[in-house]
Symmetry: C3
Subunit: 262 residues, 3 copies
Amino acid sequence: MEVSDILKRVRAQKPVVHHLTNWVTIYDCANIVKVFGASPVMAHAKEEVADMAGIASAVVLNIGTLTPYLVEAMKLAAAGANRRGIPVVLDACGAGATRLRDDACFEILDGVRVDIIKGNASEIARIAGEKVQTKGVDAAAVDKNMQELAMRLAGKRSCTVVVTGVEDIVADGRRMVQVLNGHPMMADIVGTGCMASSVIGTFAAVEKDLVSASVAGLVCYEIAAEMAAKEAHGPGTFKEKLYDAVYGLDADTVERMKKIKE
Amino acid sequence: MEVSDILKRVRAQKPVVHHLTNWVTIYDCANIVKVFGASPVMAHAKEEVADMAGIASAVVLNIGTLTPYLVEAMKLAAAGANRRGIPVVLDACGAGATRLRDDACFEILDGVRVDIIKGNASEIARIAGEKVQTKGVDAAAVDKNMQELAMRLAGKRSCTVVVTGVEDIVADGRRMVQVLNGHPMMADIVGTGCMASSVIGTFAAVEKDLVSASVAGLVCYEIAAEMAAKEAHGPGTFKEKLYDAVYGLDADTVERMKKIKE
Amino acid sequence: MEVSDILKRVRAQKPVVHHLTNWVTIYDCANIVKVFGASPVMAHAKEEVADMAGIASAVVLNIGTLTPYLVEAMKLAAAGANRRGIPVVLDACGAGATRLRDDACFEILDGVRVDIIKGNASEIARIAGEKVQTKGVDAAAVDKNMQELAMRLAGKRSCTVVVTGVEDIVADGRRMVQVLNGHPMMADIVGTGCMASSVIGTFAAVEKDLVSASVAGLVCYEIAAEMAAKEAHGPGTFKEKLYDAVYGLDADTVERMKKIKE
C-alpha cells in the first residue's frame, strides 16, 4: 500500500476537515489536522453545521462530551456530508460507559450514513451489540475476537471499522488490515485516540478507498509517535515532539517504518 | 504521613475520576489525572452524569465556566456520588467574582454533600461568608487568618477545606496540615489550580482520610512542579516538564522532598 | 512608537481581560494573556458576563465556535464594557464561511460598540461587505487592496481594524500602520490568530490609543514568535517556546527587533 502517496495528497490538497468533537481534546483534534498540512474547522451550532460540511472534504464526529443537542447537530452535519458524498467518521468515544453514549451512537448510525466507525476494543464491541462495561473512556479488556467483531460490524453497517489498540484493525467487511506501528506512551496521555479519528478523517478526505485511507492515516500518525517517543523524557515532551514529528514526516521514513499486515 | 503510599495506590488502582469542569482547563484536568496513572472521564450532560458517577471512584466539580445548566448537572453528579459514598471535590474557581459564582457554590454546597472544598485564599474566604471581591480567577489579597477561616469553613460544612497558595492549608475542622512544596512558576500559567483539584480528587479516590489524600496529592503534584521548574526555560516548557515529572515521580523522591507542617 | 512602554504597563497593571471565546483555543487565549503578565478570565453565562465585564479592563469576543446563545452573551458582555468605557475586541473568526458567522458579526457590530475588529484578509473583507468565500477558518486569497479595505471598514464602523497576515495592517480610518514581525510557523499551528486577539485586548486594556495598543501587542507577540521559531524543531516545540519567549521578553529586545512601517 502506497501510504506516503496519500500523505502527499493531504499536504497538497489541504482538505477542510469539519469536526463536531468533544471539549477535552478539541484543540488537539484541530492541531493534529493542521500539523498534517490540512485545514481543520470546528463548528457545532445546528444553524451552521450543514453549511460548514458544505465546504469541507470530510466530517469527524466524536461523542466524548456529548449532549442531546450535540447529537442533533452531528446528525445535521452528517446528513449534509451524505448529500455531498464526503466521508463521515464517528469516534464512539466512551461507548459502553453510559446509556446516553450507546443511544447516541445507535441514533447516529441509524439516522445517517457513517463511513468509518472508530473506537477502542470495548467501544467497538459495544457498538457491535456485545454487552461490555467500559471503564469511562479508557479501553476495557474484551474477551472477544476483535478481528471477527470488526468484520461483522463493518458488514452490518456497510462501513469501514477501525479498532485502535496495540495492533489496530481496519476492516470493511471484505478486507482486513492490521497496523502494527505505534508506541505505548500514546496510552499515557489524553487525546491520542481522538486525534487518530481526526487523522483518519483527514486521509479519508483525499482517498476514496476508506480502508487505505484509514491505514495510511494510522501508519503516519503512529510512526510519528514512535519517533516522538524516542526523543521524549515523558508524556509532556512526548506530545510536543509528536507534533514536530508529524510535521517533519517524509515519504521515505513512512515507507521504511510502516508495519502493515494485510 | 506516608505520602508515597497513596501515590502507589493511585497507580495500582487506576481509579476513574469523573469531572464536570470548565472549558479552559478541561484538557489539563484530564491529562494530569492520566499522567498520575489514573483514568479521567469528562461528562456534563444531565442525562449521563449520574451514570458516569456510578462507574467512578471520585467526582470533581469546577465552576470555572459555569452556566445554570452545568450547576444542575453538577448537583446530579454529586447526588449520584453521595449515594455511592465516593468523594466529591468542589473547586470554587472564581468565587467572589460574580453573583452567579457565589450562588452556584452555595447552591451546590446546600444541595449535596461536598467532601472537599478547594480554592485560593479569596475564593475560600468568599465561600466562608467573608466579603471579598476577587479579581477574576486570580487570588486577591485577603486580610484574614486563612488557617482559622479554613478550620471554620470545614467545621460549618463538615468537610475538608483546601486553600492553595504559597503555603497550602488542608483542614477538616479537627486537623490542620500545611503543604510547603511548590514553585512560583505555577502561578505564571493557566490551569495549575484546576489541575490541583483533579489531583486531589484522584488521591481521594483511593484514600478515605481526606486530609491525608489532599495533602498527598498536593505534595506529589508540587514536588513535580519543583522538578519541572528546574529544567524549564519559561512557563511553556515548564508545563510539559510538569507532566514528565509527575509521570516519572518515584516514592523515594517524594519522601525526600516533601515539606509538610502538621 | 514606544512599544516596550506599553508592554511594561501590561506587566505592572496586570489588567483583567474578559473573554467570550471559542472552545478550541480557549486555553491558549487565557494562557497567552497570563504569560504576558495580565489576568485572563473566561465566562460566557448570560447571567454573569456583564458582571465579569464590570471587573475587567477589556473584553475579547471570538466567534470561532459560536452559537446563538453565545452571540447573545457576547452582546451583553460588550454592552457592559461599553457602559464602562473599556475596549471591546471582536475576532471575526471564520467570517465568510457560513451565514451564521456573517450574521453574528453584523449583529454584534450593529448592536454594541466594538472598538477593534480583528481578522485575516478574507474575514475582514467579508465584514467589509465584500463577497468572499473563506475556506473554514484559514485565510483565503483575497484579490483586494487590504489596506484600503481596512481603512474603509475602520471609517464605516468608527473603530480600529486589524488584518493579520505576513504583514499585519492596523488602521483606524485616519492612521495606518503595518507590522512586519512574525514567522511563517505561526500559520502551522492552530490558535495563533485567536491568541493575537487576546494579546491585542490585553494591550488595549492599558493604552487608550487603540492603534498603538494593537501595534504594540502584535509586535511583542510576533517578536516572541520569531525567537521561538529559532529554537523550535517543529510546531509542537514552537508553541511551548512561544510562551517561554513571551514570558522572557525584555524592552531592549522589543525595541531592537520591532519592524513597523508607519
